[in-house]
């Protein structure tokens, strides 16, 4: 096959493929955002709200039941500042969120059992 043809076809296909992806992203993003604005949709809007409105943790003066203790905060801050290779003059930890458990579920179960067995 002529090498010019390969080039033209190649670029054509690459552009087509990525244009199609753009189209899909634009459509589904719009749908999700429309859905998220309707008040009767809860499941995913909450997720999005969470991403948009995110307040700095420091504003929460009253610690809720499941929140993070100041001691833990100090440890995390130290660890983060170590990772960032600088002292903590540049930035402070403004928001800490628990993420889902990443430990294998059986380990957690085992750990809980162990604690329960010691109570």
């Amino acid at each position: 096959m002529n090498s010019l043809i390969v080039t033209l076809v190649g670029m054509f296909v690459v552009f087509c493929a990525l244009l199609l992806i753009i189209l899909c992203i634009v459509i589904y993003s719009r749908l999700i955002r429309i859905k998220a604005q309707k008040p009767n949709n809860h499941e995913y809007s909450s997720v999005k709200q969470n991403n948009n409105v995110q307040k700095p943790a420091s504003e929460n003066n009253a610690l809720p039941a499941d929140s993070i203790s100041p001691e833990l905060l100090a440890v995390i801050t130290a660890a983060v500042s170590a990772c960032m290779q600088s002292t903590n003059t540049g930035y402070t930890v403004r928001s800490i969120k628990r993420i889902g458990h990443t430990t294998p579920i059986w380990n957690v179960a085992g750990r809980n059992e162990y604690i329960l067995s010691k109570l």
Binding site: G10, V13, V14, L18, I21, C24, S29
Partner: protein, 395 residues
């Protein structure tokens, strides 16, 4: 007894590397040491270049028996012979030959990649497409020399994708005899992105264009991030089925990351698994660059051409990305900084950082990193698609 002793020593000496080393071996060993130097002292993509250069070193110490290139020249491959006579690196090379390692590396890359900036600004994908002209433009150039088959030309051109695993994957399918030099060129130039790109970027843009400050990206919801790998996987594989191993695994890795429900698998994909595969891939790809190759007529010239064409591919890719960025600058009424176009060549996240740096030179208030990450990760998808197209047309 003294006679027996000297005889035994002589026999061992005759089988030693010192007695069997040739000038070509020495040249290749020096080359391997040079790449080790680049990887360690200059930090050129060390994760791949250290294993590749060490594999090259091991393959060029005579009679080590770690790699037997002759086993891999058979048509069709004789897997029985490989199991019976293969050395350690022959056996590990099975993972390259069977096309297993590059997709697993893509699984890890997918798990490490945040497509958020791309979802926030889908137009970036166009820049990731435009930069692939580096691949196809170089294909014309490689064919023009008359020194390469179309399959070899396609493998050389893919260096312009600035994506190591994609280059290794395509080359192992189209032109495995060039795997060593192509992998070395690909990773070397990826490391040289901060040197190669800025002059081209500055030459093709005006100061006014480089100063453009782009507006902040919108936040992307978790659902959009979860849907992205699924949508891209389905669309791209439907369009170019031959890209399935790369795109499928890239998107599975990203789904591990974004779904948030398989943190264990996400962690392993981006750590233990990708690291193990990287060691095996690097070592064996490096070991294909043995002195026997260099002794084949014309291989030396081919290797030099690969080095030259690889550079050309990178330059064309960068230029076409920037030029398409200028087009978007015009059509958007000056809202898009053309500097983010050069990030479309992949080389994540180096190319995006180059955009950031050149942008900040022109305007210290300028902060392009996040905007350049969009074209940057789009470039990964773009070159995987390009590899699929080349495999479909030339394979």
């Amino acid at each position: 007894m003294w006679y027996d002793f000297t005889n035994a020593i002589k026999a061992l000496a005759a089988e030693s590397g010192f007695a069997n080393i040739t000038l070509l071996h020495l040249i290749m060993i020096v080359l391997a040491l040079f790449f080790l130097y680049l990887a360690i002292a200059k930090k050129y993509e060390p994760l791949l270049l250290v294993p590749i250069a060490f594999g090259m070193l091991l393959a060029n110490l005579p009679l080590g028996g770690l790699m037997h290139p002759e086993l891999w020249d058979a048509q069709p491959l004789d897997y029985g012979a490989i199991l019976h006579n293969g050395g350690l690196l022959d056996l590990l090379y099975l993972g390259v030959k069977l096309g297993i390692y590059p997709p697993l590396i893509f699984l890890g890359i997918g798990a490490m990649t945040d497509f958020g900036p791309l979802i926030a600004n889908p137009k970036s994908l166009l820049l990731g497409a435009a930069a692939q002209f580096g691949i196809f433009g170089t294909y014309i150039g490689a064919m023009a020399f008359g020194a390469f088959t179309p399959q070899q030309a396609g493998s050389i051109a893919i260096i312009g994708g600035a994506d190591g695993p994609t280059a290794i994957w395509l080359t192992s399918k189209l032109a495995p005899e060039l795997l060593g030099p192509i992998a070395l060129a690909a990773y070397s130039y990826m490391a040289l992105v901060p040197v190669i790109q800025p002059p081209i970027m500055k030459a093709l843009t005006t100061k006014k264009e480089r100063e453009v400050i782009m507006k902040q990206l919108r936040p992307v919801s978790k659902l959009e991030k979860i849907l992205f790998p699924i949508v891209v996987c389905v669309l791209v594989i439907l369009i170019i089925p031959s890209s399935a191993p790369l795109v499928g695994m890239l998107m599975l890795g990203n789904l591990f990351r974004e779904s948030g429900v398989v943190e264990r698998l996400n962690d392993t994909a981006q750590n233990a698994l990708i690291n193990i595969v990287t060691i095996f891939l690097g070592l064996t790809v490096g070991s294909t660059a043995s002195a026997d190759k260099l002794s084949q007529p014309g291989f030396g010239i081919q290797a030099l051409l690969i080095i030259g064409l690889g550079l050309v591919a990178f330059c064309i890719g960068t230029a076409s990305g920037v030029l398409f960025g200028k087009l978007m600058y015009i059509f958007s009424g000056g809202k898009i900084n053309p500097l983010i176009g050069s990030a479309g060549v992949s080389a994540v996240p180096m190319a995006a950082r180059v955009s950031q740096k050149v942008g900040q030179e022109a305007n210290p208030q300028n902060f392009l990193l996040m905007h350049a990450m969009g074209p940057n990760v789009a470039g990964v998808i773009g070159s995987a698609v390009a590899a699929g197209v080349l495999l479909s047309m030339l394979g």
